[in-house]
Symmetry: D3
Subunit: 284 residues, 6 copies
Amino acid sequence: MSFNLYKNSFLCSSNDYENSKVVLAGIPMDFTVSFKPGSRFGPSKIREVSVGLEEYSVYQDKNLFNKVFCDMGDLELPFGNVGKCIDIIYEFAKKVFNDGKTPIFLGGEHLISFPLIKAAKEIYGDLVVLHFDAHADMRDDYLGEKLSHATVMRRAGEVVGFNNLYQFGIRSGSEDEISFARENSNIFFVYEIENLFEIVKKLKNKKVYLSIDIDVVDPAFAPGTGTPEPGGLTSSQFLEIILKMKDLSVVGVDVVEVSPYYDISDRTSLLAAKIVRELILLIE
Amino acid sequence: MSFNLYKNSFLCSSNDYENSKVVLAGIPMDFTVSFKPGSRFGPSKIREVSVGLEEYSVYQDKNLFNKVFCDMGDLELPFGNVGKCIDIIYEFAKKVFNDGKTPIFLGGEHLISFPLIKAAKEIYGDLVVLHFDAHADMRDDYLGEKLSHATVMRRAGEVVGFNNLYQFGIRSGSEDEISFARENSNIFFVYEIENLFEIVKKLKNKKVYLSIDIDVVDPAFAPGTGTPEPGGLTSSQFLEIILKMKDLSVVGVDVVEVSPYYDISDRTSLLAAKIVRELILLIE
Amino acid sequence: MSFNLYKNSFLCSSNDYENSKVVLAGIPMDFTVSFKPGSRFGPSKIREVSVGLEEYSVYQDKNLFNKVFCDMGDLELPFGNVGKCIDIIYEFAKKVFNDGKTPIFLGGEHLISFPLIKAAKEIYGDLVVLHFDAHADMRDDYLGEKLSHATVMRRAGEVVGFNNLYQFGIRSGSEDEISFARENSNIFFVYEIENLFEIVKKLKNKKVYLSIDIDVVDPAFAPGTGTPEPGGLTSSQFLEIILKMKDLSVVGVDVVEVSPYYDISDRTSLLAAKIVRELILLIE
Amino acid sequence: MSFNLYKNSFLCSSNDYENSKVVLAGIPMDFTVSFKPGSRFGPSKIREVSVGLEEYSVYQDKNLFNKVFCDMGDLELPFGNVGKCIDIIYEFAKKVFNDGKTPIFLGGEHLISFPLIKAAKEIYGDLVVLHFDAHADMRDDYLGEKLSHATVMRRAGEVVGFNNLYQFGIRSGSEDEISFARENSNIFFVYEIENLFEIVKKLKNKKVYLSIDIDVVDPAFAPGTGTPEPGGLTSSQFLEIILKMKDLSVVGVDVVEVSPYYDISDRTSLLAAKIVRELILLIE
Amino acid sequence: MSFNLYKNSFLCSSNDYENSKVVLAGIPMDFTVSFKPGSRFGPSKIREVSVGLEEYSVYQDKNLFNKVFCDMGDLELPFGNVGKCIDIIYEFAKKVFNDGKTPIFLGGEHLISFPLIKAAKEIYGDLVVLHFDAHADMRDDYLGEKLSHATVMRRAGEVVGFNNLYQFGIRSGSEDEISFARENSNIFFVYEIENLFEIVKKLKNKKVYLSIDIDVVDPAFAPGTGTPEPGGLTSSQFLEIILKMKDLSVVGVDVVEVSPYYDISDRTSLLAAKIVRELILLIE
Amino acid sequence: MSFNLYKNSFLCSSNDYENSKVVLAGIPMDFTVSFKPGSRFGPSKIREVSVGLEEYSVYQDKNLFNKVFCDMGDLELPFGNVGKCIDIIYEFAKKVFNDGKTPIFLGGEHLISFPLIKAAKEIYGDLVVLHFDAHADMRDDYLGEKLSHATVMRRAGEVVGFNNLYQFGIRSGSEDEISFARENSNIFFVYEIENLFEIVKKLKNKKVYLSIDIDVVDPAFAPGTGTPEPGGLTSSQFLEIILKMKDLSVVGVDVVEVSPYYDISDRTSLLAAKIVRELILLIE
C-alpha cells in the first residue's frame, strides 16, 4: 500500500537502523506483574508528546530534519522475570553498541542501566558514567536483592570502576550508601551541582555514558515519576547541563523513571522528550 | 536484527495485512491545530491499554490468538485541513474495502465516519448504518460548515439513504435535527434502546456499518470524551448490544471520540478496547 | 455600546426578570472562610458547562428558546457568618416568591434550603417538600449547631410539618435521625425509590418545593460533591424521576452540593445543568 | 496523659482485641519495591475515608456503636520478598483464626488471600470460598510464578477443594484458566450474577470465607484499582449481594485491590469502607 | 430589586465603562467546534479565581479599591468561523481604543492578538509590541493557514513593523521562523531574558502593547496551557518582569492561552489573575 | 500478640513519649463541618508519604535512627466548634511544653498556631516567632471573627509582642494588615528573603517558635494547599532556610495548610515530610 501510516514514534525519527548513528529504544521494564503502575508506559508517552515539540532547537540552532536517527520501538520483555529481562536488555545493548551506534534508551526503571552500562563497558573498555539522580542508588542490596533500582549504581560502579562514576544532583540515600559513595565514587549533592562544569572539562577525552533519572529534576518540573524527592533542579538548570554534554564524547544514554500516570499535564514526558531531542542533536 | 521489538499495537495484532480479514487503523483527526485537545490521542491510548485485557473473551468463548488481524497504525493526516483529511481517509478506506477487508477504524472525531461510510457504500452498494451516540449529529450545517462532527450523520444519511440509517442511544440534539431525524431516519432515543433487539433481527441479511461514538455510554463509564452527556447506557448494557452484532453481517466499524486526557482512570479507553476485541472476535 | 458581551449565564437565559416565570439564582454559600473548598463554585460551573448541552430536550420535545427565564447571577454573601447568610437568602427568596416567580436556586451547600423553604412556606401556606438526597439531614443539631447541612431537613420539617416532607434516595444517617424520620416524615430509602411514582400521583394538587442534593445520584455519576455515598441512583434513573415532576405544581427548586473541584470530567455539573434544563422546561 | 489522641483507624473501631469478635487488619502487600504504585495504601485510605460514613446502617438498621470490634492496623511486611510476606501473613491469620475471631483483611493485592484462606482452612476444616472478582485468577502460574495475584484462586482452590470455590462477577481470564474453572470450580460470569442468590441458600450451613476483589464492581463505581475491567456490577448491586451474606456463616473476609491513587474522588475506598461496615454489622 | 447579585467578574471590578481607564474583556476563542478543549474557558476561570487574591499588592503598595476599572464579560463569538471572529474582535478593540481606554484582553488563544494589535496600531500610529512567549509564533503560514496561533506574531509584525516587535522568553520555533525572527524582529531567547531590563529603558517614551502567552512561564508554574514547553521562567521571575512594565506607557494588553482543564490546582489561572491585578495597578 | 503491627506513623518514629525530646502531633482542624475539604487530612498524608523518604539526611549527615522521637497521632477535636478546639489544642500544647518536649505540630489550618504559640509563650516567657507564609495573616478580624486563619499572626503577635514576630516570604495581604505589619512586626516580603540570614544570626540566643505555612513555597512546588499564591520560594530555597534554623534554639514548630486533595503527585506532603525530617534532625 502506498498510504502513509505511522506507529507511535519519536518526533522526526525513521526506521533506518543501518544509516542511523543515534538509535532510540524503549525498555519498558518496571518489575511488576500487574497492569498499570509506573514507568512501563514511559517510552510510549515520551514518543507521543514529542510531536508537541519542534524539530528545531533554539539552544543549538540545529534541526532533527538534518539527522538520520531511528526509533526501534520498545524491547519485548518477560515482565516479572528480572533475570531474564536483564539478559535480554544486555544482549540487545551489546548488539547496538557493536554496530557502532550511540543508543538512547528510554526507561522503564533505573535497573535497566546496569545491563546497558555493562554492554557499553565491554565494547568501549575505558568508560565513564555520568549519573543524574535524586537518589544515590548505591545500596549493595535492597531487601536482599542484588539487582534493584536502588542498587543499580553500585552494580554499575563495580563494572566501570567507582572512580569512573560521577553522580550529580543527589539528595537522598541511606547512610550506608552515601558513606560508600563518598569514599568510592565521585558524588556531588544537589547543592554542589556547579562542580559539574569543572568535571565536564576534565572528562573531555573520555568515552561517556549518561544515565539520567528524571527525578534529578524537582517534582514541580517532573511530577510524573515513582519516587519524587523535593529540592531538585529546575528544568532550565537541567537543560543547561544537558547542553554542556556536547563537550563530551557520549557513547550511550538512558533516560529513566518517567511514570506518565502521575502527571496529567505531561510536562514530565515533555521534558524527557526535550532532553532526548537535545541529546540527538548534540551527538555527532 | 533478531530481537523482538514492538511498537504500540493493539493486543495480539500482527502486521500481516494480506492474511488479515479484520484490519485496525487509527484516524487521529480532531480538527484542531494545537497540540493537546482531544481525540487525536484516542487510537494510541486504546492500543496502549488493550494489553491490560485478556486475549480471550468469556462472553464469546473465543480467543484473539486464533484470529489473524493487523493493526496498521495511524493514518498520517494534514492537521487543520479538513477537506484534505476527508480525501485521504476516503482513499484509504476505499482501498481497504476494495481489498475485501473488514476495517475497524479508531477515531479521532466523529466526522471521520463520513468518508468511511461513503467508501463502504461505494463498495457494497446496499448498506445499512447502525449509529450509536448520545447526539443525533444530524444538523444540515454547523455554524455554516457542512462537514462537522455535528453534521456527520446527515451527510452519511445522504449517502446511504436515511431509511438505511438507524440511530440508538440518542439523548441530545437541536430541535431541527431531531425533527429531521424523526421524519427521515430511524431514530431511537436512549429510553427506547430495547428496540434495538428487534431491529437487529430485521437486518440479518443486510451489509451493516457500525458507527460507535463512545459517548453513547454514560460519562460515569466513559468520562474520557469531548462532549459528555449524562443519562446514557451502562458499559454492561453496551457490551450486551455489541454481542448482538454477531447476528449481523458487519462490513466496517468505527469507534470514535475517545479523548484520553479527560479520564485518568483510562476506563474509557479500556471500554473502547474491549468493544474492539469483541468486534474482532465476532466478525467472521 | 452595541457589541454583544455576555457574562457567565445559564444556557439560553436572559436578564429579563420582569417577564420571566422561572428565575435562576446561585447561592454560593459553603460555610468556610478559606478560598477553595467546595460547593461555593457550583453555580458558576453549572452555568459554564450548560453551554455544552442543547437548548432542546428530546425527553420533553420542548425548547428553552421558547421560554423566557432569567439567570440573576449569584447572591452576594458574607462568607463565614452563617446567621447573616441565612437572613440574606431568606429575604431574597421571599422577594422572588412574592413576585410570583418559580425560582431554581443553585447551591452551595444544603443548609440554604432552610431559608428558601421557609420563604416558600410563608408565601404558599400549604407546602409539600420533596427531598432527594443520600443523607437524611434530619439531625436536631450537629455538634451543637442547630443550623447545619446535617440538620437542614429537620428545620425544614419544623416549618412545613413533617407530614409534608417526603424524602427519597436516602441511604445514610445516624440512628437517631433515621428513627426520627421513620416516625415523623415520609422517608423512602434508596431501595424503595419506586414508591416515588405513587407519591407523585397523590401530590398532584399540592404546591411542591423540590430540594435536590446531587449526591442522591451515585458518585459514579456525580463524583463532584462533598460527601459522596456509594449505592445511589444512576443518572438515567434520576432524569426519569425529574421528568415525573411535570405532574406536580412545582413552586420552587434547589439543586445543591455540586463541588466542581472533585470532578475533572465535569459530569456532575453537566448532570445538574441537565436537571435544571428539564425543570425549566416542565415548569409552566 | 489524658488527651484523646488517635491514629488512623476504621470508623468506630477499638483497640480491644480480647473482646472483639470482628478484627480488622491491613495487609499492605503489593509486590513492588518502589514507593507509590498501588494497593499498598489501600488499607490506610479505607480507614481514612470511613469517617465520612455514618456508624449506623439504614440497610440493616444496626449501629457500629453497639459492636465491639478492633482495628489492628497494618501488618508489617518485608516489601519485595514474596515468600516471607506469605509466611508472615499466614502466621498472623492463623493466630487470629485460632483466637476465634472473624477477621476482615484489607488488601493489598489479591495474592494475600492465599495464606489467609490456607489458615482459615486449617482451623475450620470444611470451608467454602466465595470469590467476587472481575478476573478468574485461576492460572496455574503467571510468567512461571506459582504465587501471583493471577494464580491466587488456583492456589486457594487446591487448598479448599475446587468444588468449594464459588466465583462471581467474572468477566476476564485466559482461555486456559476459564476452561479450568468451568471444569473444576463453580464459576459464574458477570451476566450470571443472579445465580448467587440460589447458591447462598444452598450454603447456609457452611463455614464461608469471602474474598472480595473490588474490581468486581465496574470501574465507573470503583476506578481506584490496578486492573479495571469494564462491564461490571454497580455499587448498588454489590451492596445488595453483601447484605445477602447475612444468611451465611462468614468466618473470614478479605477486601483487596483498592488502589487509592487512581481515584481522586475516593469513591472506591468509600465503597470498600461501606462494604466493611455492612460486613461488621452482619457478622454475629 | 435591591439585593446584591453579582455575575462572575474580576476581583473588585465594576460595570462602569464610562469612568474606567482600564477595561477587561474576555475573548474566548479557541478555534474549535467542540465543547471542551482549551482556552475558551480561560477568561471565566481567571475571573473566578481572582477572588482568591487580595485587592492590595505588596509589590506596588497599591490597592484595586482605589481604581475604577470595569470587567465587560466575554465577547460573544461565532465559534468555528475564524474570519468572522477576527472581524468582531477587531471592531470591538477599535471601539475600546477609540474611547481612550487601556484594555486588558483575556484569551482565548493567541491568534486574538492579531486583531487587537491591528486595532491598537490604527489608533496609536507608532506602536511597540512586547511579546512574552515560549514560542516565536512567527510562521508565515501554518499548514497553509495565514491566520493561526502559530503565525500571529508574523501578522502582528507586518502591522507594526518587525523592528517594533520585541520577543522574550522564546524557547521553541521552527528553523524558518526563528531564522526570520533573528533577521527581522528583536528576539530574545529564554536564556537572554536579562536583556529585557535594558530594552525597557530604551522604550520609555513609546506606546507599548503587551502580548503575554502564559506559557512563557515554565509548565511547573503554569501547567494549564495548550502547548507547555519545559525550560521556562519561574512565576517570580515573570512577576518581576511585569512590575518593570510600570516604566512603560502601556496602551493595551492581552493574556492568552490559559487552559484551566489541564491544571486542577488552578495555579495557572491564579498566576494570570495576579499578572492582571498588577497590570491594572501599574497602568496610570 | 507478637506480630508487628503498625498504625500510620511518621518515618522512624516511636511511641516512647517519655524518652523523646521531639514529639510529633497532628492537629487536624480545618473549621468545617463537612467531610472532605482541606487540611484535615494533612497530618495523615504527611505521615503516609514520609516512608518514601530516607531516614538519613544528606544535608546534615544525620540519621533519624539515632534519634528517639515519638509520633502521638492526631488530636481529637470537636469539628466545627472553634472555641473548644482552641482550648483543647492549648491544653495539649501546654502539657507537651511543660514536659520539656520540643513539639512539631502538623496542621490543619493556620489558626492552630495561636493556641500553640500562646502555650509556648507561657512556658518560655521570652519567645520569638518566625513565621513563613505567603500571607501576612495579620488582620484584626476576618468578617467579624477574631479567631481565623487570616488573623492568627495578629493574635500571636499580641501574645509574644509584635517586635518578637518575624515574617518571611509574605506576598499577599490586605492594605490594612500589611500597613499594620510594617509598623509593628518585622515583615519581610518574598523578594526580601535574603534578610533572613542576618536575622537568624541576631536571634541566636533566643527561644524560637517556627510557624510554617506550606504556601510560603510557590504552588509549583506545593500545589496541595488551600490558598495557593504564585510567586513563592522554590523547595530548594526553603530547604536551605530550614537548615539555617540549626543555629537557633527552636522550642516548637508547626507545619500547616497541607491539603492533600489538591495534589495528586503528593509532592506537597513530601516536602512537608522532608521539612519535618530535617527539623527533627537539627533539634538537639
